[in-house]
């Protein structure tokens, strides 16, 4: 971008990123502008987590967003890009959790899946071999003899990342031979473990999770992958499938038993903190509302454990900057 020198600041907060965090960010924005009517109401754009980081890490200045919403942690590479573009002070807040839910219509076939089975059903090359499974019964003879049809998120979405990381990779690594590749050829390992089949059994659904819900409700043979909040919203029509023996319920996800649970984050550009009026207050709106009885749980978010919440509240008040080292060492516990 070019343009004339900007003398005026921006009087509205700009946040971009995850479509999973989007509803919570909207709620936070709404709450913020009610509490602080003298500030302009924040602009929230849903671009997907990856897209959000790209915009966010573009640089500092009015034309770049102040906040990136994320349904996964920022990757070291992304943080590097940020730093390279001058976004050197990024603050990470874990605002809560969301489960990736695998679900089907209430009239559906009622599976009991494991991450391994999900991997075998969805991988492009399960364990490096060509994908041959057409029907569920090809995966496990006890499964119904129905074609595999899974609606899921596209590669731009963080939900897809989580699916790849939390479920597919987990399933993939359960095979020792494949796990061994990890050290030899990381690239190949990633390809084997995360690439999703594209022969029509896995149908990408754009960013519009809502459509998946509707489709499942009307097609009992299909199953879908999406955020837990969508499942909760449609609990009268959909049934969550247990994964590794745990149902996707609030409790299971909050406790971390359900394998598909993932933390949600917002990333703040600290350099903008003074420059964008209201940014501090917006962040405190998040902090005030992320408790178990807060605004966000009513929208389907799962609150972090009190310890995690307290630690993040601390980060928020001190505006502790995220370093590359943090990303490698301390995976924040779920």
């Amino acid at each position: 971008a070019c343009g004339s020198p900007q003398t005026a600041g921006r009087d509205q907060i700009k946040a971009v990123g995850s479509s999973t965090v989007y509803p919570f960010a909207k709620a936070a924005a709404e709450e913020f502008s009610r509490t602080y009517p003298s500030y302009g109401s924040p602009i929230i754009e849903s671009t997907g987590t990856g897209g959000g980081f790209k915009l966010f890490c573009g640089g500092v200045g009015v034309q770049y967003p102040d906040i990136a919403n994320a349904s996964r942690r920022i990757k070291p590479g992304e943080l590097e890009t940020c730093n390279a573009n001058g976004v050197t002070e990024v603050v990470e807040l874990q605002v809560g959790k969301d489960g990736i839910a695998i679900a089907e219509s209430k009239e559906g076939q009622n599976f009991q899946l494991t991450p391994k089975q999900v991997y075998e059903a969805l991988a492009a090359e399960p364990y490096g071999k060509p994908q041959t499974a057409k029907n569920w019964s090809d995966i496990d003879p006890s499964f119904p003899n129905e074609p595999i049809l899974v609606y899921g998120p596209p590669p731009t979405s963080g939900t897809r990342d989580a699916l790849a990381e939390l479920i597919l990779t987990a399933g993939c690594e359960s095979d020792p031979a494949t796990a061994a590749i990890k050290d030899e050829d990381k690239d190949r390992f990633e390809q084997i473990c995360t690439e999703v089949r594209s022969d029509g059994a896995y149908v990408e659904q754009g960013e519009n999770d809502n459509l998946i819900v509707q489709k499942l409700a009307t097609n009992p043979k299909a199953i879908g992958v999406f955020g837990y909040s969508f499942l909760e919203e449609n609990s009268d029509k959909l049934r969550g499938l247990s994964l590794g023996g745990f149902e996707p319920t609030y409790e299971n996800i909050a406790s971390g038993d359900y394998p598909g649970a993932r933390p949600l984050y917002i990333y703040i550009k600290k350099q903008h903190l003074d420059a964008v009026p209201g940014l501090k207050e917006y962040i405190s709106t998040w902090v005030e509302n992320w408790g178990k009885d807060g605004l966000f749980t009513s929208k389907g978010m799962i609150a972090s454990t009190p310890e995690v919440a307290a630690r993040n509240a601390d980060v928020a008040s001190n505006m502790t900057v995220l370093t590359a080292a943090d990303l490698q060492t301390s995976e924040p516990e779920s």
Binding site: A1, R10, Q12, P23, N234, K299
Partner: protein, 423 residues
């Protein structure tokens, strides 16, 4: 001419006439079939329109209402302490909030309905109540029964969706007449929100109006002037050809390409005007301009040359001929084209997605440079929402948009019929 030839001729004529007679019934049947098919296609085409309108209206009318619950509050009893002067200013609603209005409301609701239901008297209810108090401060001295929006969960239960228990509660409240659907005028006055009970169309509508204003101000004069130039003055040369070809082509360029133009050019020059009506308006203006030029040219062309000749022959200059005679006569046609072009711009979604007009903006835009959404994009966004309460809100927004478009199209047709003349 020989007698024999004449006879042969008559015979031939007779035979052929008989053959023709034999076929006549079949030909008429084919005629009827053909006519029927043609008529059917009109009926089907119009029928689809009717189905579409009925589908939208039937699901959309409910979107103009929302579930509200009656709450009785005895204000003197509650002892809300607030300085009456604070009820005047901009911050009155906030002052009421800080003075503890939400708690009072919760208390009253709990007293009346018990804690479970009181929890469903949503956060928005206290804001609505605050608004009511600000508009009628005398309330604070009385015991009043106010109708307040319930949470989306209860509203969904009232529609017969969601968990069983809540549905039973909703049914009971509805039977007792305490919970019901009320016309929600606020829908036309509020902006986007996260709760379907709380959303409004005004933010997006205002964004649309601002965007349209920019479009009109840019596209109309440029379009008309270009039309005048091309139709009346342009010399026949390569440059004119290039201009003509580019205008005709621009009219056919998919709208999304204009979005790419806005993204790559306008947002590159003005990066901090992402999502702003002025950028949207500029983008749509480029899209609308060729429509205006083409309809303008047709309107100008249809002014008979004899009028121009008449004026030229008494010594009017070419510019006078156009501005005194041609343009006034072509104006209805130009306006018709402009309205149609504007209507198309008003319904346009794709290019605006490209330039960030899909953001969540919770307050109506202040001006041409503040971020906003527009009506069709708002519809698109709402159609994506997970809350099922948004389904009827989306249809309601569609009704609003269609009303605007029908009015605009109707106006264009009226103008065309009224001023259609044959010289």
């Amino acid at each position: 001419m020989s007698q024999a030839a004449d006879l042969a001729f008559e015979e031939q004529r007779r035979i052929r006439g008989e053959r023709a007679n034999a076929r006549i019934a079949k030909r008429y049947a084919a005629e009827r079939r053909f006519k029927l098919l043609a008529m059917l296609s009109v009926v089907v085409s119009a029928g689809v329109l009717v189905v579409l309108l009925i589908a939208m209206t039937s699901s959309g009318l409910a979107g103009f209402t929302r579930s509200e619950i009656d709450v009785t509050i005895d204000f003197p009893e509650m002892g809300l302490s607030i300085d009456p002067a604070a009820l005047e200013g901009e911050n009155a609603e906030n002052a009421l909030r800080t003075a503890g209005l939400p708690d009072i409301l919760q208390f009253a609701a709990t007293q009346q309905y018990g804690p479970e239901i009181a929890a469903e008297v949503g956060g928005s209810a206290s804001r609505d109540l605050a608004k009511k108090i600000v508009s009628d401060p005398d309330m604070l001295g009385e015991t009043v029964t106010v109708s307040l929006p319930v949470s989306e969960d209860l509203a969904a239960a009232a529609r017969g969706e969601g968990p069983e228990e809540l549905r039973a509660v909703a049914d009971r409240l509805q039977a007792e007449g305490q919970l019901g659907r009320k016309i929600d005028w606020g829908f036309l006055a509020r902006a986007d929100a996260t709760d379907p009970q709380e959303v409004g169309i005004w933010g997006a509508l205002k964004g649309s109006l601002l965007t349209m204003a920019v479009t009109l101000v840019l596209a109309f004069p440029i379009g008309v002037l270009a039309a005048v130039y091309l139709e009346e003055y342009a010399p026949k040369n390569k440059w004119t050809d290039i201009i003509e070809v580019s205008i005709n082509n621009l009219a056919a360029v998919p709208s999304i390409i204009f979005g790419l133009l806005g993204l790559a050019v306008f947002l590159w020059i003005f990066p901090n005007l992402r999502s702003a009506p002025i950028i949207g308006g500029m983008t749509l203006a480029l899209m609308t301009m060729p429509v205006i030029v083409i309809s303008g040219r047709n309107a100008i062309k249809s002014v008979p040359p004899s009028i121009r000749d008449g004026a030229l022959a008494i010594g009017a200059s070419p510019v006078q001929v156009v501005f005194h005679h041609v343009l006034p006569l072509a104006l209805p046609g130009i306006l018709t084209g402009t309205i149609i072009g504007m209507a198309r711009a008003l319904g346009e979604t794709a290019p605006l997605l490209m330039i960030g007009m899909r953001a969540f903006v919770a307050s109506p835009p202040d001006g041409f440079t503040s971020p906003s959404s527009v009506l069709p994009v708002q519809i698109f966004l709402w159609s994506d929402e997970i809350d099922r309460g948004f389904v009827e809100r989306t249809s309601a927004a569609i009704i609003v948009l269609l009303l605007f478009l029908l009015v605009m199209n109707g106006l264009a047709i009226y103008l065309r019929n009224k001023f259609e003349r044959r010289w």
